[in-house]
Symmetry: C2
Subunit: 509 residues, 2 copies
């Protein structure tokens, strides 16, 4: 069967990913290494992610604010430990002026900054510094801040959305009176991320705790949501950290408690980024392009009139415009349905395939004959093909379509989630008995080995290092310990000791 | 009479401005010169501005996208003419790594970039470059893009919101088939800005064309909205430029027209920034702090229960919670009313004055006696004081207040606009006959001379230069030529020639 993309997932997953990014008008290279131009369809998806997630972050009592792009170098020096574990690959501003020299523009050597400025790789340090000013008494706690911003980490090997030098993200930073309150926050956000990923992005995830060796440097505990991509690799899609009092100590975030004592705060931080878009592509894309879950689709329904540069065109457009208004008046997922009437010049078949590649959830085509019969031709992106290899158009009366549109969008959202969940669950092995079997499972012949669930005794220190090294030989990492799994009956896969929890191992992005 | 701020507008307008920025929790210095931390209340106002304006920008057919923070130096060199008129004060990234040396972090001299990267002062060049790829045929036109982003212009003298090295803005960039279509766009956006400023920010503005000497470098025509601050100075609050074909030529934005010919596009650009927040402060603030117009207030109504750490507190909070829900169920300005129930610990009088300084439009206090009587005590921020110098609380039944809340918010919005408009109109002189009178009007004794309207023959070249120099001696600039003013009857104030239009002159930020 012919498909709308030239490359299939099966033949070349990585090439397929690039093809979707490019042909679904998501993003393109910018000319600056590792920085991308996010195109309208890709950015529209990010805006939907932002708006829905931001509402949820606000509803749980967080305030947005904005901190500067530049951080003085000395702030990092203060937290050398923190920086140690961090990539030191950061963009550094050293000059503040250009000047003309021999007819071209050059950096003005006279305009060297006294102190270099680092383009923020995260705002941890500056937000910590502000918290130390803003928190005085127990009355100021909890202090729950969030920021939407661009950040820069100089990456050597980049891939659109998944690893770029500049990316967009949301970073939450909170300060609390004690450990209990900070842990409640950390886990509340983990759950917020889980439900957001599953209900909004239709992307099934495992929410759980990272092992010691995968913690954010300086964190006491790090939690993540892990999604499985269609090639079986894991994508860490969001993290939530309980930072204990270490960061508060470094930034001097203290409060006077009710007895008058100066006390260190317990802090948390958490974030998701434009990486989520990469996750959406590799979760829902197929060989015809992207399939965007309706809740984050900039246009949920695209109407394509079959214009012929003839007299009847005006009637057809007016018929489609009525359809558009009828849809806009309705709600799906408690928001007005987002509809585009695409009457730009161009052949309808070409426009149809453009929207298929972009992954608009529903495409409605309306020709003169449809109009005469009071009908519309409806194509669902989540079940594009008939068995005979033709696009699965469903001719419905306009009224029927209007009546069912919201329900259809909800059904598509559910279908995408269920397809992804089934695929994920089918690709988790629970029956691997020993390291030889693990090695065999991840041998070169198996190109989609997925994840393996193992019993785990939670070794630390040198014992943990030994496990990590062993896994590394198979290019595996421990993804996380799921929150809801009980104590396994089997002994620890690695140490043979009594196991206390379950872990997932897999390859990852 | 005592006021909530220590400094009055009359005594020291500039000191007063800083006091509002600080005491209304709008922003603070960040430790990086010229970069501010935008605090939650200030950022909440920016988010409201963004959301309302973004909806309008999208409704007029523009797509948002995102371009990289960094621009290679060579892109600027290409447009040396454009850069000439531009400040060359830009932040330049020259290195991409930090390294530890003698126990501290320093810029790694080994990690020098081959080509320096400029932190975007505007995205004109990169967006132009993308347009040249994205526009191929007449079918791709018009191409209407918008971006919300942070930009950096290294400023020597900075003032919060008004002139900062980093600021947040929206930049629109569009490409059209011909001049007519591009001019329609330029003026449509000017009108969008005008109505946004007046209806949403309650800030009266003059929409008009800038004189030749005030044009954006390279633009064919530049239009602006100009607002008058309470000290009589002008604030340019938004600009819209028709760029002709010059930028298209530099960036090679061409299309194949319907006859198959390669043709240059006509382009436009337009923007507003966090500067608008400075405008809101200097338009609506008073000696008690900020007054936020309801349409952009993060919380339109703040409910303060008078808690006493006693048994009755729970009932009081439940009474207030019912009030909050009753308000949230209603709409003002076609959006759900935004209400905060502020039950944080602290004395109600202190919290009241905090909210007065922040400028929440309506403050509702509820004590045990109010609750018993089914009442609430209502304070409108736009008419805070009774004649006897006491806060003008109005005791209403809870039902009456609920019934009237949306209307009250609309009345406050209107009142703020009318107060500002009257002040603006009262501070425009139309009767200044000659340059001596102009000099006298702007003499040192007159500390709020406002603007002067003058007849204008639109001189160009050396004649215009002479006028500009003369005005400069009084620290004046031409603000703009209003769109709606006819041809004046008087001859040109400067040249004595037949006048063709009207101009406003004034001092400015």
């Amino acid at each position: 069967m012919r498909h709308a993309l030239d490359i299939t997932r099966e033949a070349d997953f990585s090439g397929w990913y690039q093809a979707v990014v490019s042909q679904a008008d998501m993003a393109e290279e910018s000319g600056v290494r590792g920085c991308m131009v996010i195109r309208p369809w890709g950015y529209g998806i990010w805006e939907r992610i932002q708006r829905v997630l931001d509402d949820e972050i606000k509803a749980t009592g967080h305030d947005n604010c904005y901190f500067p792009l530049f951080i003085p170098l000395s702030y990092f020096a203060k937290e050398a430990d923190h920086v140690e574990g961090f990539a030191k690959e950061m963009a550094v501003v050293t000059h503040h002026r250009l000047t003309a020299k021999d007819g071209t523009l050059v950096v003005d050597p006279e305009a060297k900054l006294e102190e270099p400025l680092v383009v923020r790789p995260t705002s941890e340090t500056v937000i910590g510094e502000a918290m130390s000013r803003w928190v005085q008494s127990w009355r100021d706690l909890p202090l729950k801040l969030n920021q939407w911003a661009n950040v820069v980490r100089w990456e050597m090997r980049t891939r659109m959305f998944l690893r770029t030098s500049e990316f967009l993200w949301q970073e939450g930073h909170t300060a609390h009176a004690d450990k209990d309150d900070a842990m409640v926050e950390t886990l509340k956000i983990l759950e917020l991320y889980r439900s957001f990923a599953e209900e909004v992005l239709a992307m099934p995830v495992i929410a759980g705790e990272k092992p010691e060796n995968e913690r954010f440097p300086g964190a006491v505990s790090t939690f993540s949501i892990e999604a499985m991509m269609q090639d079986g690799k894991a994508l860490q899609a969001g993290t939530s950290h309980y930072l204990g009092t270490g960061f508060a100590e470094a930034a001097d975030i203290r409060y006077q408690d009710q007895s008058g004592q100066q006390t260190l705060c317990h802090t948390t931080s958490w974030g998701v980024s434009t990486r989520l878009i990469g996750g959406v592509i590799m979760t829902h894309g197929d060989d015809d392009g992207l399939r965007v879950p309706p809740r984050i689709a900039p246009h949920q329904i695209v109407i394509l009139p079959m214009l012929r540069d003839k007299e009847g065109d005006a009637d057809l457009i007016s018929y489609c415009e009525k359809l558009r208004m009828g849809l806009t008046d309705q709600s799906a997922f408690r928001e007005p349905i987002r509809v585009l009437l695409d009457s730009k010049p161009g052949k309808v078949a070409q426009k149809r395939w453009d929207w298929v590649r972009k992954g608009a959830p529903i495409i409605v085509e309306v020709g003169p004959r449809d109009m005469e019969g009071g009908n519309v031709s409806v194509l669902r992106r989540d079940r594009l093909w008939r068995e005979d290899g033709k696009p699965d158009f469903d001719i419905q009366t306009r009224d029927d379509f209007l009546f069912c549109a919201a329900g259809t969008l909800e059904a598509i959202q559910k279908n995408l989630f269920e397809q992804a969940k089934k695929r994920r669950d089918d690709n988790i092995r629970r029956d691997i008995a020993d390291f030889d079997a693990l090695t065999a499972h991840y041998a070169d012949g198996n190109d989609k080995p997925g994840w393996v669930e193992l019993a785990w005794s939670r070794p630390t220190g040198a014992d943990l290092d030994a496990v990590v090294e062993k896994l590394k030989s198979l290019k595996l990492t421990i993804r996380n310990t799921p929150m809801d799994a009980g104590k396994p009956e089997k002994p620890c896969f690695f140490t043979g000791a009594d196991s206390v929890e379950t872990i997932y191992v897999g390859r990852s992005y």
